[in-house]
Symmetry: C2
Subunit: 258 residues, 2 copies
């Protein structure tokens, strides 16, 4: 009897940025079928406790071990859901799961593995601020845990020259606290001081805070580990709402360019 | 009495790539409060008919008129929802709405305008194929309706040099049928013939079809207007599942690079 015949499966799902109103029905339905939920502790804590569901909470930065654990549970016939915040395919658990799968036991190759998308942080932040990613854009993970800093800098320079809007995940790494200051210096050099930058902290939670400034006024400490940073392209605009509106100004990138 | 006091509002919401199981609860809840739903006819048709909800279906390529219509309805005190497929902030209606708003009647500045995110096509396609966008990536609209072709080509070359994975929206424009063939030629030149490319058609619908080939084997006619195209980075891998699995091979980009 192979793993698939045992009836086990593993799914990597996205819980969205924070609010339960942004979890898709297919993710909710799959969690209701699961026997095990696996992930970084704050994400596992978002899944309600119920009989028949085992919670496996782990520390940050143990992605491969966590992935292997989920795969071994599935191989035993269990229904394992690995939870990510946001979308699992964007700087989250989906790639880690496939790395562990490819390197792991040959029997795992038969496993039923699915990925269910979620609302990723940059699109939630974009929606809250207006539409800064409404034209061509790129997404860069600024953490240098798994890639050399020189590659981050090279990508950043080419993306700025291409006039992409840019979304930065993990803007401030504890291991390299000066990295984000260097990023801001490079952006000021290529994009100029007037370019707009959004700091969106804890989007779609009670602690949400949005802050739009120019690169001239941007400071590294405006970002922390819960902040999504979005830099506009040359056409991105900040437009005040009327005095009758309590909402912050609108940050958006028009559909046209050139 | 200003527009806000009249109680009207406008929201731009994402319906996700196709399946109702991927529409977020907050979008479903907002549609239940709406008096008017506005959008491109196939998207408006996805919203169930009910008493008290007026359906306003329009043709493609009338985004600014559609946006102005929604804004004028909100100014009259109605609750207008503009529907986009995928995420409204990614090559969809959110930017068009803010363009119409900024250029429009001064009274519109007070309007309550919200954007609710959705599962965008590239992340749905990525999840179905594995995790090709698991590392740094960019999203480019290949339509040259609103930007010069030279800018598309420049962004494409810089993105390829930066070794981003790339997601292409609107790969084949009727107005420029040879554009996508040129894109493939440029990619072959910079990324080489072995680079992997995914054609994901009608993702999350009954007609879904995924096709992964190398750039050497890629043909322009593999994409149509319903196809999302994703080009891997230099590290993107295609890994066969076991003979016990009926699913197609996994396309994924590891978390590491360099």
């Amino acid at each position: 009897m192979n793993a698939a015949e045992r009836g086990g499966w593993v799914a990597v799902v996205g819980l969205g940025p924070g609010g339960e109103a942004q979890v898709t029905p297919e993710v909710t339905a799959l969690l209701a079928e699961a026997t095990d939920v696996i992930g970084y502790a704050p994400y596992v804590a978002r899944v309600a406790v119920r009989e028949g569901l085992v919670h496996h909470a782990s520390d940050n930065r143990v992605e491969l071990e966590r992935a292997a654990h989920a795969l071994s549970l599935a191989a035993e016939g269990r229904r394992a859901v690995v939870v990510s915040s946001g979308d699992p395919g964007v700087f989250a658990m989906a790639s880690a799961l496939f790395e562990a799968w490819e390197q792991g036991a040959p029997a795992w190759r038969d496993l039923d593995i699915r990925v269910l998308p979620g609302i990723t942080a940059m699109l939630a932040a974009s929606a809250r601020a207006g539409a800064p990613l409404g034209h061509d854009f790129c997404a860069i993970n600024l953490s240098d845990n798994l890639k050399p800093w020189a590659l981050i800098e090279r990508r950043l320079r080419l993306a700025a020259e291409a006039d992409f809007a840019m979304a930065f995940y993990n803007p401030r790494s504890k291991a390299r606290p000066d990295g984000f200051a260097q990023v801001l210096d490079i952006l000021r050099e290529i994009c100029g001081p007037e370019r707009l930058i959004l700091f969106a902290r804890a989007v779609c939670t009670a602690e949400e805070r949005l802050n739009v400034v120019t690169l001239a006024d941007a400071r590294p400490e405006m970002a922390d580990m819960r902040t999504m940073v979005i830099v506009g392209s040359s056409t991105t605009r900040l437009v005040e709402r009327g005095s009758g509106s309590a909402r912050p100004p609108v940050l958006y990138t028009p559909r046209w360019a050139g």
